[in-house]
């Protein structure tokens, strides 16, 4: 158990854990540092001083266009979706008490992807409408998966396996759509499918910003109940938590965050899985991990995007390829480790 400090502002009081706060602050500092570095990179490099000057509103017209209209929103989308995926993953993992029940593994992202590819390849929709379609797709998929996995409650492992099955159907339909499209539309769709920050601009930044503003505060408030829910249904009920209601609200927030993040940047894989797991390992047991997970999620996406752009420069890979490269081996490791302690997947 670590020391906690009680912080009181007027009538609102909260306990603050110095370790958790320190890690979150460190992650944010690193994220902002990488983001600033990222702003200097691109088709032509701009020195950091000039970037900062431009951000302060004293740059030339061209600088303003490049930095403020082009690079800044892209970075903000990266930070935003990192936070959203990570918080969503943390909620799911803690609700199911299973690290594998993250939105990308149980198929929610795949649903968004199918809808988006349908819009790109068949309907030829303008980019503005793709997020709406992706949102609808993931909400629909989440509902389907929940109903299919429901049998006297939703057991974590059944949810994961049903998710794998649903993902298989959705994935093969998506692959079929790719064969129908012309090759350039197919490439765009594939870029989108991998999860990419390329071409993301203020509309997407607005989507994810609003999503975070609307969904993160209730998530933080509900996190208190998460800790009680983790004690088990009986104990939680005895402590006066209305279990089904609390769980439904948390699932809705988790799905909403994953859906909107996917709508903004595509299904960037494994962030929702890895960030909360890292948070759990860094922060002592029993501390609310949502803020730390969110900070680590942002760091993960921004760092991965930087790697994706630099590694094969001048060809930029989509960020989702890097996160999959980092995340999938980690998932395999988690599985192997879970087996060794005998807890199963």
């Amino acid at each position: 158990m670590s020391t906690r400090w009680a912080v009181r502002v007027g009538r609102v009081s909260t306990r603050v854990d110095p370790v958790a706060t320190g890690i979150a602050l460190l992650a944010w500092a690193l994220t902002l540092g990488l983001a600033a570095f990222s702003l200097t990179l691109g088709d032509y490099e701009i020195p950091l001083a000039q970037v900062l000057e431009t951000l302060a509103g004293r740059g030339s017209l061209i600088m303003t266009d490049v930095v403020v209209n082009n690079r800044l929103p892209r970075i903000l989308v990266g930070i935003g979706v990192g936070v959203a995926f990570a918080v969503s993953g943390a909620i799911f993992q803690r609700l199911a008490r299973n690290p594998l029940v993250s939105p990308d593994l149980i198929g929610i992202n795949a649903g968004a992807a199918l809808a988006a590819v349908l819009m790109i390849t068949v309907l030829g929709s303008s980019t503005a409408w793709i997020p709406a379609g992706a949102l609808a797709g993931s909400l629909l998929t989440a509902t389907c998966i929940y109903l299919l996995a429901y049998r006297n409650g939703v057991a974590g492992q059944r949810l994961v396996l049903v998710g794998i099955g649903v993902t298989a159907i959705i994935g093969s339909l998506t692959a079929y759509l790719l064969t129908l499209a012309d090759i350039y539309a197919a490439k765009n769709a594939l870029l989108w499918l991998t999860g990419s920050l390329a071409g993301r601009s203020w509309p997407q930044a607005t989507i994810i910003g609003v999503a975070l503003l609307v969904l993160v505060p209730p998530a933080m408030a509900a996190a208190r109940q998460l800790r009680v829910l983790e004690l088990g249904d009986d104990l939680a009920r005895a402590l006066g938590v209305r279990i089904e209601g609390a769980r439904a609200v948390l699932i809705a927030i988790g799905v909403g965050l994953a859906a909107l993040a996917t709508a903004a940047a595509g299904p960037i894989g494994f962030v929702a899985l890895v960030a909360p797991q890292l948070a759990r390992r860094l922060v002592p047991e029993g501390v609310p991990s949502l803020p730390v997970a969110g900070a680590l999620g942002a760091l993960l996406v921004v760092a991965s995007d930087l790697i994706a752009r630099q590694l094969f420069a001048p060809t930029a890979l989509p960020v989702g390829i890097v996160t999959a490269f980092l995340g999938a081996p980690y998932l395999l490791f988690l599985l192997a480790r879970a087996n060794r302690v005998g807890r199963g997947g």
């Binding site: 492992q157 999938a328 087996n339 005998g342």
Partner: protein, 342 residues
């Protein structure tokens, strides 16, 4: 372990053999249907003419160069995938095992893409070795991750390890295809799984690989029955468990690797067919294996014919049809309460 302890519909060797003969007849009917059906329907006489007195007419050409290799691909790949699935379910004692779900096909697929895209190898005899290598690596990784430590390889762990590895391999493939538009163009038709990819020459090259795999697999029936009793009991009964596992793994790699090299990654045939066979003949692998060899190509050919007819004159590739039918079966299996507790 939920491999059905119930006896199948057919209890004795006589009815099982007779049923198998009937299944072979159905398979022959599926073969004929696959030759006749499509955007253009032919009569049996056309097929005979194309085979016996090839005159080079359009009909002759379509049958000989398109329908025949397509049907042969379905026959070979189907038998291979069905057997590979049955073997995997037997060895891992895992009702969810399938070369698609456990990442074997994804491993083979990535290796083939690499061989074609990076090394410029275009003959099946060239890249089939890569396919088998990829299948082997994927099989070993998934099995290692799924079975480390206490509890051994449960369906859930194996399925998850397969999903994780498939995601990883898929993103490597995406990266490769995104960097090169022409690879993407070739790849997107291949990755859905289709019987129209292989030419007659490629089919002929695949025959020996698949034949060896089938013989090896069928020879393992008795050993799989003993493995089903549990590792300790099997050892006590004189089964050399490790040898059986290695031979079965070899057969899976040979079968699934070659099938993927021919037809792309096709999922769920290997999952579904052994379950159907088990329902018919019970848990005896000496019967499940031969039934799978016959039923799986029947299923694959019928799925392919359905894909040709449903969206005529366009086509649904067979891998999409099998996923549309197979994944719901997978979900139904998962919903059975006992499984989730494994």
């Amino acid at each position: 372990m939920t491999l059905s302890r119930r006896r199948g519909l057919l209890h004795h060797s006589g009815p099982r053999a007779a049923g198998l003969a009937a299944a072979v007849t159905v398979l022959l009917a599926a073969v004929l249907l696959s030759l006749l059906a499509g955007a253009q329907w032919f009569g049996p006489r056309d097929v005979y003419a194309a085979a016996a007195e090839f005159a080079g007419s359009d009909t002759d050409r379509v049958i000989r160069y398109l329908r025949l290799p397509r049907t042969a691909t379905g026959l070979l790949a189907g038998a291979a995938l069905g057997l590979a699935g049955a073997l995997m379910q037997g060895v891992t004692r895992n009702p969810l095992a399938d070369p698609g779900l456990l990442g074997v096909n994804a491993g083979a697929a990535l290796a083939v893409v690499g061989a074609i895209g990076l090394l410029g190898i275009h003959s099946l005899t060239g890249y089939v070795w890569f396919a088998m290598g990829g299948a082997l690596v994927a099989t070993v990784v998934v099995h290692l991750v799924g079975s480390v430590g206490r509890g051994g390889a449960t369906p859930v762990k194996l399925a998850l390890a397969g999903a994780a590895l498939s995601a990883l391999l898929g993103s490597v493939t995406s990266a490769a295809t995104l960097l090169d538009l022409s690879t993407l163009n070739e790849f997107r038709f291949w990755v859905v799984g289709s019987l129209t990819l292989a030419t007659g020459g490629i089919v002929a090259q695949a025959v020996p690989f698949i034949a060896v795999g089938i013989v090896l697999a069928l020879a393992l029936g008795r050993s799989l029955n003993q493995l089903a009793l549990g590792e300790d009991l099997a050892t006590a009964l004189g089964t050399r468990v490790t040898v059986v596992r290695i031979l079965a793994g070899l057969a899976v790699v040979l079968l699934a690797g070659t099938a993927t090299a021919m037809a792309g990654p096709i999922g769920f045939v290997g999952l579904a067919v052994p379950h159907v066979a088990r329902t018919i003949v019970g848990p005896d692998y000496r019967w499940i294996l031969p039934w799978s060899v016959v039923l799986a190509p029947t299923v694959l050919l019928l799925a392919d014919v359905a894909g040709r007819l449903v969206v005529r004159p366009a086509e649904l590739q067979v891998g999409i049809v099998t996923a549309l039918f197979g994944a719901p079966l997978f979900i139904a299996l998962v919903r059975r309460r006992k499984l989730a507790e494994l």
